[in-house]
């Protein structure tokens, strides 16, 4: 008994001692989101030509240790939020939101740590989207552009044209529904907590509505938005969509599309990669612009995620820490690594220096970059963005179960302007 206790205590001491950081080296806590099946392997396993990002970085930058963790999107908000509550945020974080952190003074301005050369390399439009109160607080890590993917063979068989307006979209859906008698869903919609905000954006922006008004104030209950969401609900009601929009995620939609069960879906540019990886080879598809309401201007939808650095007042040497973060970014955006990273999961780059190599590898990137240049982005520079994101998802799901769209959006708006 005593022996066991003694042994146990020794073990405890040993293990706790080993968790103390080793002296002198700067250790950066990095959290990266899991984008695809290869993300973990690329960063920490052997996915980068037999080595990993972390190993390569530490070899190239002696004196800096990376404590890099790849977290799934399901858990990342939990992990980050818990660490912030414990005043122990990561040094570098890769996530989609940033304004709420910035508005509470948790983030460092990008200019504090980002080398000038790299700073100038980012697409200017992306950087403008990362400004809170005139200061850039995050840098984009990658982007994706959305387009309407449609099954060319089905459209030919049914004898319809690619819809450009909502009215045409409804007609096309009805025609597909009539033709295939329910074997094929005409249009895919994802209103899950994964990406319901994207669905809101596709239709709100397609009706000249949106999340904010011209003065950049929240305007989720605009008449245009109400009309857009009522249109969306009409589509679901008429049976033009997949049966469970509230629980069927984009993976499900992409699978249905690949298997020829879905005629149209709005999806990111990574879909071709997905379809090839998954083995859907005999599908003949093409892309088109998102349908919009008659009289409205259509716009494509771009989505970008970000990398940001948190303040850490307890760091002994702030300058050295900033430099280390800068080195991390420089190393990450080095075309040698960055091109590999972006093309691995079929995303679009955020820096100019990567464009050339990417287009060389896959010419279709160029057209996607054009789409991206004309895209609208979420108003993620506003501190309430994460609330709005969940709010619009909630509104859509509530409307699905019979709620009144106008009342729901008014409610959300009231909460935002409170």
């Amino acid at each position: 008994m005593k022996k066991a206790v003694a042994l146990f205590l020794t073990l405890l001491l040993l293990l706790s001692a080993s968790s103390f950081a080793l002296a002198e080296d700067i250790t950066l806590d990095v959290i990266i989101c899991q984008y695809g099946p290869n993300t973990s392997d690329w960063f920490t396993g052997t996915g980068m030509d037999g080595t990993s990002f972390v190993k390569k970085f530490e070899e190239a930058n002696p004196g800096i240790k990376l404590n890099l963790e790849v977290v799934s999107w399901n858990d990342v908000y939990t992990v980050v939020s818990t660490r912030i509550s414990n005043s122990n945020p990561p040094d570098i974080l890769n996530i989609d939101v940033f304004a709420n952190y910035a508005s509470e003074g948790l983030l460092m301005p990008v200019t504090d740590y980002c080398p000038e050369e790299l700073y100038d390399d980012f697409f200017p439009a992306f950087m403008q989207n990362s400004v809170v109160d005139g200061v850039v607080y995050a840098v984009p890590d990658l982007a994706s552009a959305r387009a309407l993917f449609y099954n060319v063979d089905m459209f030919e068989e049914v004898g319809i044209e690619v819809p450009q307006t909502w009215a045409e979209l409804e007609d096309a859906c009805q025609a597909i529904l009539d033709f295939y008698g329910g074997d094929v869903y005409p249009f895919g919609m994802d209103m899950t907590t994964d990406e319901g905000q994207a669905n809101f954006a596709y239709f709100a922006w397609g009706n000249n509505g949106g999340f904010v008004d011209a003065d950049d104030n929240w305007a989720v209950n605009s008449d245009e938005n109400v009309e857009a969401i009522e249109f969306v609900m009409g589509m679901v009601e008429k049976g033009y969509t997949n049966p469970n929009p509230a629980t069927q995620t984009r993976y499900d939609l992409q699978d249905m599309f690949g298997a020829g069960k879905l005629a149209m879906v709005i999806a990111p540019n990574s879909v071709p990669t997905y379809l090839t990886d998954k083995g859907y080879t005999d599908i003949n598809y093409a892309t088109a612009g998102l349908p919009h309401n008659e009289g409205a201007t259509g716009s494509s939808v771009g989505i970008m995620d970000r990398i940001m650095a948190f303040k850490d007042d307890s760091a002994p040497d702030q300058a050295a820490r900033n430099e280390a973060i800068g080195k991390f970014l420089t190393f990450f955006y080095d075309p040698v690594n960055y091109v590999d990273w972006v093309s691995m999961e079929g995303f679009l780059p955020a820096v100019n220096s990567a464009v050339g190599a990417l287009i060389e590898a896959d010419p279709s990137f160029e057209s996607w970059l054009d789409v991206l240049n004309t895209s609208k982005f979420y108003p993620s520079h506003k501190a309430e963005w994460d609330q709005v994101k969940l709010g619009v998802i909630n509104v859509q799901q509530n409307a699905l179960t019979g709620g009144d769209v106008k009342t729901l959006l008014d409610g959300l708006q009231a909460e935002l302007t409170k």
């Binding site: 396993g45 963790e69 122990n88 025609a175």
Partner: protein, 529 residues
């Protein structure tokens, strides 16, 4: 004329059998199956009656119908006014045929055709026939006899008849199912995959339905064919059940115990099937290819090719390491929980002291917060103790969260063991520590094993706290490790389930080995207030 009670009962049973049999025979002469066959479908979108597209489609449909004698063309026109006020229209041409058949017709018409539904029909007829013959044979001169005085040969005959009756009854649903399976799915799947075989199957199918169907049209024939089972087939089921009851009454003398026994086995089988089902799904999905995990045409139950490399893929992606961490974590947590829990349970079971009830209340209350809620507090604590991102920290957390369970179970076990031996030992000068270790613990072994398992499993299953607490990939337990297979871009079901398989097998084996201990451990007083 007076009859003995046994004779009376046997006669009743006989009447029951005869009546049931009569109804069954009548039923077999009613149509049991309907083949409705859409031999050809042509849909033409954006088509108006009389326009070019329409005529083209119409010609196509007529050409197809010409191949089938007596087949009619059904034309459906859907017209709609679209949002712009234009009229759109879609025309559908269906070439349809339907036939109804009795079981006898089916048996007679396709004697040489080898589909398992026909085998089932044969088996059904054979079983009924044999049951009747055997039952009749067993009746000779034995009608008035008590069943326990029956000669052995008669009993065997009657038992055989009853089993055959059961078999006949089970043939009915099998028949219905295999009809659907063969005709609507299996045949078409099979023939699409083996085009070279259609030459042999066609003549048989022709005889079955369309004596004039030309060879080579098999696929078109099968594509639209649906089979419906009609009510007379299903009515056979209860009728045969009555027949079976009559037979049982004949051979056993009474029905209740047999039925109870049958019900018991039926319940156990259903229970086991339901329980094993998700594990079966896990097993087969673990070896499917990525594309087949989301197969939307439901081609096969089993993987078309067993992708064994899924296992090596997940091994390469760190799953063994996660498993090792989980084992380490669960073992450590169990050890800590027992080391702390046994003394406490001992005190609760053997000693009287103030605050005992409050302690028990405290123990239960400690369970009432979901770990999810406590995340913030736990991480803060771990930072203070420098146990962040260590398996050791997780061990303590899990041990603490399982204290209530451990103490409760162990206390129950200790209470159920008489303290006489310990009291004697104490008089001999042995202190309570050695009394516990030398005397009580060996006797309480089953209860301790049970506790151990409970704590081990709970620690093995813990997910939320580990997610937040562990950031180094090599420290992740399996529950957290497998989240890497559902990423932003794709859920890799096959890897998810392959890892789940690897994670489940050790625990299942462990459980099966100690299942006996488990029950006896609980029995020895484990879970008793």
């Amino acid at each position: 004329m007076t009859r003995s009670p046994a004779a009376k009962r046997n006669l009743h049973a006989l009447w029951l059998c005869a009546a049931a049999l009569l109804v069954a025979v009548v039923l077999t002469f009613l149509p049991a199956l309907e083949f409705s066959t859409v031999v050809f479908t042509k849909r033409s979108g954006n088509t108006f009656v009389g326009d070019e597209r329409y005529l083209e489609a119409r010609a196509e449909a007529e050409a197809a119908a010409a191949a089938f004698e007596g087949a009619a063309i059904h034309e459906t026109v859907i017209e709609r006014v679209n949002s712009k006020g234009e009229t759109t229209s879609m025309v559908t041409f269906d070439v349809k045929e339907s036939t109804r058949m009795t079981i006898w017709q089916l048996l007679a018409s396709i004697g040489g055709f080898s589909l398992s539904s026909v085998h089932t029909a044969h088996a059904f007829a054979l079983c009924v026939l044999l049951a009747v013959v055997l039952g009749a044979l067993s009746l000779r001169g034995q009608l008035a006899c008590e069943h326990r005085h029956l000669p052995r040969s008669t009993r065997v005959l009657r038992t055989c008849a009853a089993w055959l009756g059961l078999a006949a009854m089970l043939c009915v649903p099998l028949f219905g199912m295999s009809c659907n399976y063969n005709f609507t799915r299996q045949v078409s799947l099979y023939l699409t995959e083996h085009a070279e075989l259609s030459g042999q199957a066609v003549p048989a199918l022709e005889r079955l339905l369309y004596s004039a169907a030309p060879a080579g049209e098999l696929e078109a024939l099968l594509d639209g064919m649906t089979m419906t089972t009609l009510w007379p087939l299903w009515a056979l089921l209860p009728v045969l059940f009555v027949f079976l009851l009559g037979l049982i009454l004949l051979c056993k003398g009474e029905i209740k115990p047999t039925l109870a026994r049958g019900g018991l086995y039926a319940f156990v089988i259903v229970l086991c099937v339901v329980i094993l089902y998700p594990f079966f799904v896990m097993l087969i999905t673990a070896f499917r290819s990525n594309a087949e995990t989301t197969d939307m045409y439901f081609l096969h139950i089993l993987p078309t090719t067993w992708v064994w490399s899924n296992i090596s893929d997940i091994v390469a992606r760190g799953v063994p390491r996660f498993l090792l961490n989980s084992i380490l974590l669960s073992t450590g947590a169990t050890a800590i929980a027992l080391v702390c829990g046994i003394p406490a349970a001992y005190a609760m079971a053997r000693m009287q002291f103030r605050g005992k009830k409050s302690f028990l209340g405290f123990v239960i209350m400690s369970q009432m917060f979901a770990p999810v809620v406590l995340l913030v507090g736990i991480t803060q604590l771990m930072n203070t103790l420098r146990l962040n991102d260590t398996i050791l920290g997780l061990m303590f957390i899990n041990a603490a969260f399982n204290q209530a369970f451990a103490i409760w179970l162990l206390r129950g076990t200790f209470v159920s063991i008489s303290s006489e031996m310990e009291q004697a030992a104490c008089i001999d000068g042995c202190n309570s520590v050695s009394a516990l270790i030398r005397i009580l613990l060996p006797m309480a072994a089953p209860g301790i094993v049970t506790t151990l398992i409970f704590v081990f499993i709970n620690a093995w299953n813990e997910y939320t706290i580990s997610t937040v607490l562990i950031s180094t990939p090599t420290n992740k337990p399996i529950t957290v490790g497998i989240t890497q297979f559902s990423s932003f871009n794709m859920i890799e079901w096959q890897y998810l389930f392959a890892s789940a398989l690897l994670a489940t097998i050790p625990v299942v084996i462990l459980f099966m080995l100690i299942e006996k201990h488990l029950v006896s451990g609980l029995t020895s007083g484990g879970v008793k207030g």
